[in-house]
Symmetry: D2
Subunit: 362 residues, 4 copies
């Protein structure tokens, strides 16, 4: 049992607070002999890094990652590879702006974990949210970069598919667009719309929710397990651990509730490349086990609770008061959740790949 | 790591196939000295039992549970109590109808786990789905009955809130209605509608999806943990392990994606009974930790894949074929998921209660 | 975390008390497609069964095991094989002699877990020791029989190598002798001596300790892991979980403390069959990982605490008193620990085999 | 499942190689609000630090520990306390002497993990042993310092009780002597003898084994659990994870094999301070649960395998060769195992304390 670990055979333990010395993680169980450079990890981290557009928090952190252990130059090839021992990654905190916390030190911000942390631990880190800060997710992205190397033939990509009530047009889905706009949005037109839409929200000091979709292609059939280690249940928990996520669905998801049996069950036909399904309402998972189709998961991210409108709240002494959260913030935290969702998908798949190989030898 | 266990300090391991000798579970970590009778467990099981109306599978299983271990008459009071050692529960399978499986033995039923089991294990139990049968959930309901005893002041109740596209009217929510209709539906009028609606589906040999909501009242603030043991992430995985579930949401859930920060964050005020929230979009959980408000989780259940319309599929030899699944089935498996969802909620809360007490002493 | 489970990928959860309805276990993670019959499990159980000679408890239990789940006739060959899902095993308790417990109900037997159970749980099962009874080990032997099938090329055998101060002559070690005497003793002469020696102890109502050695041959090099999943540390915990065990050692064990570096480190030479070691002080494990040599573990079993001499103790009310434990008992519980030690070795090796295969693909 | 983690509720994950950038650990599950300074951790580390006498490796590492996360100044008192979130500790490697590894790069040193690492992972860190270096134990000592703070009323102390064949005189046991000699030896006279004895071994380039005893006083009755979470089985695994340990025993240990039931079982009497035992052959543990007596564990440490005498071995190409391990080494690695054994004892007790509190509320 652990409060800060996920995964079983590919196992990630994270640590660190937003305003502490550093954040980091330990990846345990990674197979040996996998080529791995710090640049590969940094590449993924840079996609998540804040301050890259006016739509994400202006916190300026280079988020430079260091590998502390678990790799070495291969004695024969000289290529840096994993050794099979724990890979520790460290990211130092550099932009811990000395700020006036008097406002939030004694008041509970609505929608934040302030009240609940205090209820649980008897104190909380009021400086930037402590452990509940989205900053922790940088360590997951780093771990996810390693997970991707465990599964070189699996492609994991994420996209923002809804912002507020505005959904993308799925017919216009183009993965290449993802890198061309600050929203990870695969629909070019909608991305243009989001630019002005989110500007309006940002300027008004408000915030908005979003829905993210992560797709894994190339997943072999057979990963997962029937009941309590279902691939979908582990994806559900993985995504729900991301800050501000309030819902997770697989394939047709909540839409499946409205379908008939005829509409929902994906029919099958054989083909040149083996069995294929004629649709993918299952999201690539049946009975908790991968079908060989793309694995599709979506999750809903609530709007940032830090907004510029005063809100009713209470203070630590039990009195009624108001609060207004100033400072740098994301008008739509969902945006930065895209690479985090990808990382979680990669980690879950790597874990299940190793578990499946262990149990079945395949 | 385990494929058939959930929970950490309140830990449930289940076993058994639909058509084997018996199903059962082992509950490990239950505190000692809790009064527990077999009747209390049977009571919960009877709520889930199939064959109680024409809307659930006609399989006739008494589902009589036996306690094999972990309880004894208290040496002084004579009352049967838990001993702190593992509680094993057994339910014998009695209605394993000798049936012709030649149709499904060599064909993969669309929407079922047939293809994926075979991909994973190299064989599958074609008799009733083996481990992927919903029959396994009886053991969870039994375990949930024990979990409820660990948390006597917490009330966990579930309801069917949507069938197909038809949602209940939340203004008409009446918990007392739940026991008065075969759907666990809290809206009297909608229950009447569901009766004819589902009859139509049943007669046509089709099936339909549903959405279930489970609410826990009386949960103290402070249960859960910040990151990988979030109360919501563990509820998500718990619900997603239930057969046919394709989506899970907490509080406002996917609706939160459409909200602004002002709308979403629940404001707070003090009152006679301590801090209260003026709304519950958070579903009783902030930062992964309970707020003291009702914990609210919803999950979507896909329609049964066993329907009377022939479907395109492939056989084990790789040839194209059709299949039609005869026999007894549920037109809406979501109905029986209600007591299962309650049981999972109770187990997750009991687990977190013990973990919280362990770490904090409170 | 679990109090009643051991192993990770080959994972065994046991349940049941000496005087309850039944004992049993759930084996989770067993690979699929392994031929397995109930007779194979029963065969191992019969080796452990009490009442087979005058030197073990006269409790008469047939210990007939049932497989409740996890196996089926292979659809093509008809051979019963594992399915990859949990294998539940059940052994009903039949000889729960109705006995007068008034003596031990309120007194703590020295050397037993009576006092500590009561300190922990606030009550204890005074009928036969409840969960602390050696009867629980029958379920391990059953699980071990399955573990052996996971590793068909590994031979796991145990022997009693010391009783009281009397050690066997290692030069006379003959594995064939094990089955020819009631002590699992590999030294024919010493076995003859033990017969009269233990008769004397038995008749005087006393008891004596023993040392057991378990050897696994055919273990491939590479099983285990460097630090907290060392093959030796997991063998140590496995053996120490057996009732009455007070010490565990690997290879040279405590003797290594007296050796110099020159004497202790096993030198190596190549040969026709690959690398071999010129000695085996390491007991087949270096740095927590198997060397390919026989894995050798020894454990010390204390004498039964149930003896016919009155002993000073206290009662539940806190008063001084005496106690004399009547009834059927083992003069040397170490004897029956032999098949249990074998089972634990087999389970640990099966677990590590699956873990190694998962991480490395070999 | 994890290869680099120990504990359940008080959970320690370590990382780092002897010759990497840094070593460290993450302590997860520590209760909140415990005062903790870096000096307290450093104090324990300094006791283990090498290079303090001519009897331990001359590697000169300041072993300066940093706390990266999990503590903060209490908002009201200003005292630095734990927050309940993971505490990450970092120790940078500074003395990674650039050395000629050509000798050991391609040869397997007898008694080291060289051969087995290569068998497992396909490569090994030949620079200082990588993960198998005793350097990893520094992180455990750091974690143990935190564990001690979780249990302020428990005193955990260790001592060297045997070096080679020479045992201390238990009648001369004086805890105060421990700090007065470089051996952690509680027998003043024997310590004087060890000084010359070990000097001889050191000068001859040889090495010798040792036995360490760790005693915990003040442990409340009730910690532990009946079967697979026995306090003794978890101490056994904890000690066996320490480098070079080949045997573990509790209380009378292997000596119990030679005792009769009358001699072994500790009798009880009441007294002013509650129940007491008239002896402690049980080593403070009965049925896996603490009795309230001192918990006593001993472990055997083999002699260092790095010696100055050439040894027969094989190389990576499969040829026969000889090897002689030069460089800085410990003539008796058992010495530095004393604070490590203390740390492991403290961690196991802290873990069990939290687990017991979780399950029973006491």
């Amino acid at each position: 049992m652990s409060f800060n670990t996920f995964g079983h055979m590919f196992r990630v333990t994270t640590f660190g607070e937003s305003h502490g010395v550093a954040i980091g993680c330990v990846v345990d169980g990674c197979p040996p002999l996998i080529p791995l450079t710090v640049e590969e990890i940094q590449h993924d981290l840079d996609r998540r890094r804040p301050g890259q557009s006016r739509f994400t928090t202006q916190r300026q952190e280079p988020d430079a990652v260091k590998i502390l252990s678990g790799v070495m130059a291969h004695p024969e090839t000289g290529v840096q590879v994993t050794t099979g021992t724990p890979i520790a990654l460290l990211i130092e905190n550099t932009d811990q702006r000395s700020k006036d916390y008097s406002e939030i030190k004694d008041k509970f911000r609505p929608g934040h974990a302030d009240f609940t942390y205090e209820a649980k631990y008897g104190l909380r880190d009021y400086r930037g949210g402590g452990r509940s800060s989205a900053r922790e997710t940088a360590t997951r992205v780093a771990a996810g970069a390693i997970a991707r190397k465990v599964l070189p033939d699996v492609k994991v990509r994420g996209a923002l598919v809804q912002m507020g009530p505005h959904k993308i047009d799925r017919d216009k889905w183009d993965w290449d667009e993802i890198a061309r706009n600050p929203f990870f949005c695969p629909d070019k037109d909608k991305a243009a719309f989001f630019e002005s839409y989110l500007d309006g929200i940002r300027k008004s000091g408000s915030s908005i929710g979003a829905v993210i979709e992560v797709v894994a292609e190339g997943v072999p059939a057979g990963l997962g397990a029937p009941i309590y280690a279902k691939l979908d249940s582990e994806l559900a928990t993985a995504m729900m651990t991301i800050n501000a996520v309030k819902g997770v669905e697989i394939g047709a998801g909540f839409g499946a509730a409205e379908l008939s049996g005829e509409e929902n069950a994906d029919e099958m036909r054989t083909g040149n490349d083996g069995t294929r399904f004629l649709s993918n309402n299952a999201g690539g998972i049946l009975g908790g086990i991968s079908t060989g189709q793309p694995v599709v998961v979506r999750f809903a991210v609530k709007p940032t609770s830090s907004i510029l409108t005063p809100r009713r709240t209470v203070d630590r002494k039990g009195g009624d008061t108001d609060i207004l959260t100033k400072g740098r913030h994301d008008p739509c935290v969902g945006i930065r959740a895209v690479p985090v969702g990808e990382a979680m998908m990669a980690c879950v798949l790597a874990d299940h790949f190793l578990r499946h190989r262990g149990q079945t030898g395949r």
